[in-house]
Amino acid sequence: MSDELELFIRDILGKVEEEAREILEKAHKEADGIIKAAEEKARAEAERRAREVIDMERRRILDTEIRRIKGEKAVLKDKILNNLQGKILKLIEEKIQERTKDVDYYGFLYKLVREAVLELGENEIVVSANTRDLEFIKSRNDDIRRKIREEIGIDVNLELGEKINVIGGIIVRNKSGDKVFNAVLDTLVKRVISRNIKRIVRRLGLISQNRFVRLLYTMFSKISDNIEIEASNGKKVLLHPCKNIYSLTTESGRIDLICEADNIETAIYATIGKATSRKIEEFINVVSSKLAGKEYQKIFIAFSGSDEEVKELLHEHDIALLTRKELFNIDRQVGSKIFE
């Protein structure tokens, strides 16, 4: 009987100890829950406060930085466009003097006079121009009047006005001087630049890096048949229609476009600037880590070309270099009309 009781007691005590363990286990769980919840709450509050501080700092730093950079870029852009304007005027001057075939300057002057007559809606007009152009109008006055009469049915009385110091073109006024038609070349050049500004900035690459990549995305997504092109470094490249295009950014660098085709992927690094060793190495690092095991070709797009030293690096890593010229070529072949 005593042995049986001992066994019974041992069994009961075992169960009690088990129950005690469960009590402690439950307490530990509850304690962990309390601490975890507190930590989460504290973390969320700290996160909220830290984000508030950082968001303000980010706005302040980025706003200042972006404003400063935008300002500097705008100044440079203006300089380039002014330079362009000067170049156009100089080229026109040369063409007028050389009487080149592609510029029929005197035919052009006649067209300006005719346009002025139509624009002003007056029969009596006074034309001001530089000495050379006034001389031309004076010597062809009768011809001009006859041609205008024949072409637009207006009998115009064309009077010579003051000499003005311009490269070319005319300023036409009505007799009372209250209506003016300004077609001096300086004004026309400014006008044509302003009308074509979108085209100019794209062709010259006066766009942001992000915009450049977006334009390339559009161009590559329009490839509908295989296109073979010769890269700037002599490598032949076959561009395939892309089933899917995406980009990749990692801590070590970026791939701006990855074009997925049937059996091959094309990894593209695109910079509006120049091809440099740093950018090429960054590209190689990301490509070799992210596209390992896949069939792919590498293209480096540098709108501004490359330095001589990087050509070897490109060759060593079997990378095709496309510059402005090749992009225009692809644009033409694809018909995307982005850089035309």
Binding site: L5, E6, I9, I12, L13, V16, E17, E19, A20, R21, I23, L24, K26, A27, H28, E30, A31, I34, I35, A38, E39, A42, E45, A46, R49, A50, E57, L62, E65, I66, E72, K73, L76, K77, I80, N83, L84, K87, I88, L91, V103, L188, V189, V192, R195, N196, I200, R203, L204, G205, L206, I207, Q209, T271, I272, G273, K274, F303, S304, R324
Partner: protein
């Protein structure tokens, strides 16, 4: 049942009660400690420290964000600085055609 057995049973019963009581007391202590820690974790001091360490971490991220932005903008400056006469002439010819067409 003999007295000895009855005593043995009573002692075992007492011991069982003690084990449970001890466990309950220990459990309460654990919960109390957790509550104390909870208070510390949720204290203004701790949250401030946590906030500062997070701010430091985010500042580093912000610095890398700014340097990435600078690199990107460098590429744009590189372009602006490298426009050649040849490129400008090409555009000039294109625009002259538009003027004299």
């Amino acid at each position: 049942m003999s007295i000895a057995l009855a005593m043995r049973l009573a002692m075992a019963e007492k011991k069982a009660g003690e084990i449970i009581e001890k466990a309950k007391a220990e459990a309460q202590k654990i919960i109390n400690n957790a509550r104390t820690m909870e208070k510390e974790i949720l204290s203004e001091d701790y949250i401030k420290k946590l906030t500062e360490s997070l701010i430091e971490k985010y500042r580093q991220e912000l610095a890398s964000e700014v340097s990435k932005l600078e690199l990107k903008l460098d590429e744009e400056f590189e372009r602006l600085m490298s426009i050649s006469d040849e490129e400008l002439n090409e555009i000039a010819e294109m625009l002259i055609k538009a003027i004299f067409k």
